[in-house]
């Protein structure tokens, strides 16, 4: 999985996914306050897939990162869900162009 970071001055002009989105990366790599759209679930085990689906994480869903430590917490619909870093690694997202979230919180 490519982990190209976005946010360059040129923005997302050459993003191949869709206008307004950037190259795919892992949910675990996003900073607090960042909004992103889930693209793909790259799980190693079928069991992990069921966990992510149970949390409501599936392609097309918009998330906002609320916290990265001690576990990743994301806002999805109107709920907060927590997942550990290993699971968050499996969620491939593309970040939205503008981070509308609040200022960076504790790490």
């Amino acid at each position: 999985m490519s982990r190209v970071t976005c946010g360059t001055a040129s923005g997302c002009a050459d993003c191949p996914i869709a206008a307004g989105f950037c190259l795919p990366e892992s949910l675990a790599a996003l900073e607090t306050g960042r909004r992103a759209t889930v693209r793909r679930l790259a799980v190693a085990k079928a069991g992990d897939l069921r966990k992510l689906l149970a949390l409501g994480l599936m392609p097309g869903v918009e998330v906002e990162v609320e916290r990265r430590w001690p576990a990743v917490v994301v806002r999805i619909d109107r709920a907060s869900v927590a997942l550990d870093e290993a699971l968050a690694q499996a969620v491939v997202v593309s970040r939205q162009r503008s981070a509308v979230g609040r200022q960076k919180g504790a790490r």
């Binding site: 897939l49 689906l53 869903v61 001690p70 576990a71 907060s80 927590a82 699971l87 919180g105």
Partner: protein, 676 residues
Amino acid sequence: MGFSRGVAVSSERTGQEAAPDATRLLAEGAKAGSEATWLLVGGPNVGKSALFGRLTGRYATVSNFPGTSVEVASGQCAFRGRRAQVADTPGLYAFLSVTEEERVARRAILASSGVIIHVVDASRLERSLPVTLQLLTLGRPLVVACNLVDEARAQGVEPDVGMLADRLGVPVVATVATTGEGVDDLASVAFQAAVPVDGWALPQPFAGVVSKLVCDGRGAASVRALEAELALAGDPEMESLVASSCRERWTEAEAARAAGWDSAEDFAVGLATARRRMAAALLDGVAPAASSRHPERGWRGALERVLLSPWSGVPLALLVVYLAFYEFVGHLAAGRVVEWIERVIFAGWLTPAVRAAARLAIPWPAAQDLLVGPFGLFTLGVRYAVAIVLPIVTSFFLAFALLEDSGYLPRVALLLDRGLKRVGLSGRAVIPLVLGFGCSTMATLVTRTLETKRERIIATLLLALAIPCSAQLGVVLGILSAVPAAAAVWALVILGVFLAVGWLAARLVPGEAPSFFMELPPLRRPQLRNVLLKTGTRVRWYFAEVFPLFLLASLVLWLGDLTGALRSATQALVPVVRLIGLPAEAAPAFLYGFFRRDFGAAGLYDIAARGMLSPAALTTAAVTITLFVPCVAQFLVMKKERGLGVALGVLAVATAVAFTVGGAVGWAMRATGAWA
């Protein structure tokens, strides 16, 4: 996709018209001679158990513990002359289940024949509606209880239930379980619920594949359709069920799936995504879109950050533990309340009265002893249960219910996840582990909520060994309260054993590493009614479980005393007890411990109260009895949940560790001359 299907019953209409209908239905019900059955289904933290309490009210015969329900609880609902049997199922996020409790809920749904009441969170409909759509494929009478509308109203996202009902083709009732709003409407609608006129088919192209598997030809809307869907989506339990019951069709369906999707996982993701889109379309205009809302700000947001940041969250968690368990349970309940009940009620009044009555009524001394002797049913069994254990356990469950109802526990789970991974557990284990401080037997049952077998085994072992239950904890703290330093040594040793055994178990027990995933429910102000209901239910469960064992223990001890078997057993234990530096008088306490942990600790309390133990001996005794074997009830639950092999293994480990560590602590204290 068409929205208008059949006639929808919305809550506005049913409120007024319910009375004549109820009369008619009552007549029909009497004719049929059958009672309605309702099954409450829904995700965790949507107020399902509170709704269950409202529906069943004082008729409730709840058989387990709401909130952490791991089994199907049932009760009766009486409404305007009609009766319904109501069952509450454990929380279910999705039908593709992850944990054992979800599988329990799923089995109950697939096996039910009555009305299904799907309880959903009114302010997060998009999270529950995919499950509603799956329930619709069952072709069963279905009612949607749109709960927590008060929260939705406060957030300005109250859904239009009438519109939702029209679109789904099943009744949708707005409710607030904690205040009772809409509960009457729900009951009257549930009595009239019928099979949806038009069953909901799966979206194409999924329907084409699933239909190849529906063996009994009953069409798309049936239990079989859901089973087939789950099997094709790779659910292991459903796969083996469906594959074994109709092998040719399974091969055919697998081939069809392979033609359109790379794997079962792909199929599952595709189907989940399609359902989510259907749900979003259904909700268009019913409730404001989720993305238009910003994350929680204001005091809730600030509190959330304080609770979740390790820098403030961990000290806060320690403070909560100190206040709730040490001050409230340990000092107030186990200290003052127990002392008062013991001294004023039992010693001052009840025991002399019962003793005098027994002397008058029963001529044989041996039979008198059975009731009021040193091991008497009353003087030992009833007194321990009512005077020592009841106040401690009640106060613990009260504190636990408060924490549970506020939504605090999932935050602690998140905070401790990284730490617990070191001992082979995930943050999820916080709930059984904390509950274990109340009753380890109950907590062992709740380990079902853990995801892997490995986690369940490790949690079971740690609960049996290093988590003292509230009764034991209360008594131990009561004994040690005179010597605060001894209490500190005891706490450090138990914590050390917890970490060391957990660390070793994480390396020795085979299986995959745990992962942490959990929805964080909103922080809510605890509802007094809910808290009392939960506490009452748990105390009742505890007493039903414990009281007979206390009486049985008294009976066995009395018999042993009469026949001399007790003396020989105690004699056999004396060398072991002496070896770890305790007086011979402490031996019986360990013997009692076999019956109930707290029973043993309470026996120790008697010895300590007579001032027979030095501080070093006190610490040794407290450490040993805390680590010592689980009680009979816990052993039975371990055997039921984990199998005889694991149960015996845990027993052996616990006994060995208890005496080794206890002895080592005593030896170290004497060697260093500390409080000898």
